[in-house]
């Protein structure tokens, strides 16, 4: 039995005949407890026998439109086919609507189950009252309430109107995992048919009658501004209807078609005031990280006393570059400004931020801005920004007509926000058996949140609690963080700081195993041998769960069996977003370059909601992570981003994609994050395999530099 506080639900008093509506709150992020309760999700059962869940979670490929309804349907005992999910637009009536941080399942698991169970119990009450029989003689099954003794049954639709008049129970029983019928099944994604037909409407596909198209010429130098522009040639082109400055650093070209706008921009002549960063380059950014590394650090984790440790000392420094998300659908947003209101259709992970930023930019109140969320052609964190939306609203206001702003691939690559470059200094003392008696890990990186003016309490970027855990229960162990600054725009990119932290730690552990002359898998298992609970911010990491995941990956990869000649393996494990992940990468070397043949991944993410979607996330995360490890690097020259398209920022293609095997630890624990945890272990596991093959240690990404 799970006690429900009455504040968890609101019976949204709706118009007669609309059926049963229950409002509930889906929290965002880990461990954040909201004091004030404001519903941001609704469950609606209507007399036409439809069950609709209105949720503020955007679909960017991760499968929320399938997985979230599965959780609710399980408790509701609904017929899976009667459930529909509806995307909520930004609303001041709603609580936080952010999609990100691998949070959708783990934060909605309880509220979704409780809402489903509360509705189920209310429907049972409605049926019992209709038949005048005890509640206990009624059961819910497959979208109907049944009374076995009299062989009667009513559909949820039949009962919806009556149920709406009843109180929502405050205490409802939740199902045991052994009784699940929907959760844990490989149900097909609800969005697949429209996507394979080309009928799915992404942001870029959305149209408003009479809308124009715009592209912007933005100052190529970071922090620079428009000093002037000459639009004579642009305006000669038929179809170009407007050229004008947008904000301080861009000029918009508006036309009847995307191509017309692009052509107009091609012949537009803008002069730039390059501003303070015109001499900035990547080497200077990395040097400044090194320079600030000795500054006062904020503690992320501390066990024992590292200063007192003795024994053989091993140290190493690792560095990672800026990277770009590069989702397949370039940035875009459609806006329609109409004097005292503005409506937007945005592929966004943050509808409320879009609303608020737009309101500020075009001098409206937030309530005068309506944001509709479209499907997204990938997000990976890029759509946690709201630059597209602000530009679209500004252009629409300037021309007083609906407009779609489209970014080209080059715009996306050069005017993005980037995964922060970082530097990692690790040091360990090895005891007589070669195991670390002490380990220190200093992370030197700019803060994404800090750069955006968000709070950075005690000098700790708020992302670190979810993304840089200790993994091993070493007796003397510190992780600390030196916050640096950079003018390069920063953004949250899939797995965020976990990628950097895992690359450094798991490469270093491998170096220690080599220094100790031990097998890297056995070395890690030894460090995880003791069951320990490691408290890291609000999360407790269990060495037993990490050990089990590592053992599972090693067993499935047949670590103890010899490989064919010329094949080599590397292993890495890491925990982030409350999930445990281990990966074994198998390679050959061809012309000094690694060829990845196989990746065996094991995960403990608690209860699995949909195994097929989970495999998608892990396979996809590993392909994304391999691309990051091998080639992803954004460089700055003279204040400008060098890379522009998929030729000089080249993601993985089919020919480089290995077979990925996914194994899960059977668990009935609360589900944890799965969108991002598979990304961080890939790079160190691959570099560890390269070391096994070549005895060369890679301490800077990307590998093919």
């Amino acid at each position: 039995m799970s006690p429900l506080s009455r504040r968890e639900f609101v019976a949204a008093g709706v118009a007669a005949g609309a059926g049963l509506v229950i409002g509930f709150y889906l929290p965002h992020g880990s461990g954040s407890q909201q004091e004030s309760f404001s519903p941001n999700a609704y469950l609606r059962i209507t007399p036409d026998n439809k069950v609709t869940i209105v949720v503020p979670r955007s679909e960017m490929g991760q499968g929320v439109r399938t997985a979230l309804p599965m959780i609710l349907a399980e408790e509701l005992e609904a017929d899976w086919k009667q459930i529909e999910i509806e995307q909520a637009g930004a609303s001041t009536l709603f609580g936080d609507q952010t999609t990100g941080g691998s949070a959708s399942i783990r934060t909605t698991w309880d509220p979704m189950r409780k809402a489903g169970a509360a509705a189920r119990e209310t429907l049972i009450s409605a049926a019992a009252s209709t038949w005048n029989v005890p509640r206990s003689s009624c059961t819910a099954e497959n979208g109907r309430i049944k009374h076995a003794a009299s062989n009667r049954s009513l559909s949820y639709g039949d009962l919806a109107t009556k149920a709406a008049t009843l109180p929502i129970p405050t205490d409802v029983p939740l199902k045991q995992s052994k009784d699940y019928k929907i959760v844990g099944q490989r149900l097909g994604r609800v969005d697949s048919p429209a996507k394979v037909r080309g009928e799915a409407v992404f942001g870029i596909d959305f149209r408003v009658p009479g809308m124009k198209f715009a592209v912007l010429s933005r100052c190529p130098t970071i922090g620079g501004k428009v000093s002037g522009f000459d639009d004579k040639e642009s305006k000669k082109l038929s179809g170009v209807s407007y050229v004008g400055k947008i904000g301080d650093s861009a000029v918009a070209v508006v036309a009847d078609s995307v191509w017309g706008a692009m052509e107009g921009r091609r012949v537009l002549n803008v002069t730039w005031d390059d501003g303070p960063n015109k001499d900035l380059n990547t080497a200077a950014v990395m040097a400044s990280l090194r320079d600030t590394g000795s500054k006062k650090a904020a503690s992320l984790y501390s066990a024992g006393e590292v200063a007192k440790a003795a024994g053989r000392k091993v140290s190493a420094e690792y560095e990672l570059p800026f990277m770009a998300h590069a989702p397949m659908e370039p940035g875009n947003c459609t806006a329609h400004f109409q004097g005292t209101k503005c409506e937007l259709w945005a592929p966004t992970q943050v509808p409320q931020d879009c609303r608020d930023s737009v309101a500020t930019a075009i001098a409206l109140d937030p309530d005068q801005v309506k944001v509709n969320v479209t499907l997204m052609g990938g997000g990976f964190g890029r759509r946690l920004e709201h630059d597209y939306a602000v530009e679209a609203a500004q252009v629409s206001k300037a021309i007083n007509a609906p407009v779609k702003v489209i970014w080209t691939r080059e715009d996306d690559m050069r005017f993005s926000t980037y995964r922060p470059a970082s530097l990692h200094q690790l040091s360990a003392h090895l005891d007589a058996s070669g195991f670390p008696s002490a380990l220190t890990h200093r992370i030197i990186a700019p803060s994404i949140s800090g750069q955006k003016g968000q709070p950075v309490p005690n000098g700790v970027d708020p992302d670190f609690p979810d993304e840089a855990g200790p993994v091993y229960g070493l007796p003397n162990y510190t992780i600390d963080y030196v916050l640096t600054e950079t003018p390069v725009p920063l953004g949250w990119m899939r797995s965020v700081y976990a990628l950097q932290a895992a690359f450094a730690l798991e490469s270093f552990i491998d170096e220690l195993a080599v220094a100790a002359g031990k097998d890297p898998l056995q070395y890690r298992l030894h460090l995880l041998a003791k069951d320990q609970d490691l408290q890291y911010f609000s999360t407790t990491w269990h060495t037993a769960r990490m050990r089990a995941v590592l053992q599972l990956a090693a067993e499935k990869a047949e670590w103890n069996k010899p490989l064919p000649a010329g094949h080599y393996r590397g292993v890495a494990c890491f925990g982030c977003f409350s999930s445990y992940m281990a990966e074994v990468v198998e390679i050959t070397m061809e012309k000094d370059q690694p060829r990845v043949h196989r990746v065996v991944a094991a995960v403990d993410c608690g209860q699995v909601v949909n195994p097929s979607i989970l495999e998608q996330q892990i396979q996809g995360g590993i392909v994304y992570g391999l691309g990051n490890a091998l080639r992803a690097k954004i460089t700055i020259e003279k204040g400008r981003v060098v890379q522009g398209n998929f030729d000089d920022y080249a993601p993985l293609r089919m020919e480089e994609t290995p077979a990925v095997e996914v194994y899960t630890v059977a668990s009935a624990e609360v589900p944890t994050g799965i969108g991002e945890p598979s990304v961080p272990p890939v790079a160190p596991a691959l570099c560890n395999a390269i070391y096994a093959a070549t005895k060369k240690r890679i301490r800077a990404l990307p590998i093919l530099n």
């Binding site: 960017m60 490929g61 991760q62 499968g63 490989r186 097909g188 994604r189 969005d191 697949s192 048919p193 996507k195 394979v196 037909r197 080309g198 009928e199 799915a200 409407v201 992404f202 870029i204 596909d205 149209r207 198209f213 038929s238 078609s257 995307v258 191509w259 590069a326 989702p327 397949m328 659908e329 370039p330 499907l375 997204m376 052609g377 990938g378 997000g379 990976f380 489209i406 080209t408 691939r409 097929s612 979607i613 998608q616 396979q619 996809g620 995360g621 590993i622 392909v623 994304y624 398209n645 998929f646 030729d647 993601p651 993985l652 293609r653 089919m654 020919e655 994609t657 077979a659 990925v660």
Partner: protein, 155 residues
Amino acid sequence: MADITLRINGSDKRVSVSPETPLLWVLRDTLELTGTKFGCGAGLCGACTVHLDGNPIRSCSTPVSQVAGKGITTIEGLGANGLHVLQQAWIAEEVPQCGYCQTGQIMSAAALLAKTPNPTDDQITQAMNGNLCRCGTYERIRKAIHRAAGNGGGR
């Protein structure tokens, strides 16, 4: 501006556009066939793939004047009589994640199967290597192509 007649998915469409406009933007903006996607504008990602007389082309890099009078098939025309066997296989193998690149992937795969009804892994890699997917669905794409081939996708 020029008046150009395009034969798209079996019907003639008359458009008035400048002749150098890439076919992609004529499909998307003029004809509102938005299943064909913009990804890179440089023939590097394959999201804009359509068929020209049965061959896969990158519509983002093909001026519309070059394709006048030739047979163009877009994703909207592929499964004209219900879902194409590849589209069925894509659903059965649960290929799409974000789905943005998948129409281009399916068009490349359809051109492959039309010429090579039972492709080997190498032939699949060769035909599909120009199509990027940032969600990393390549393995399932390969499986779906094999599944469709097994179901007579090439005929």
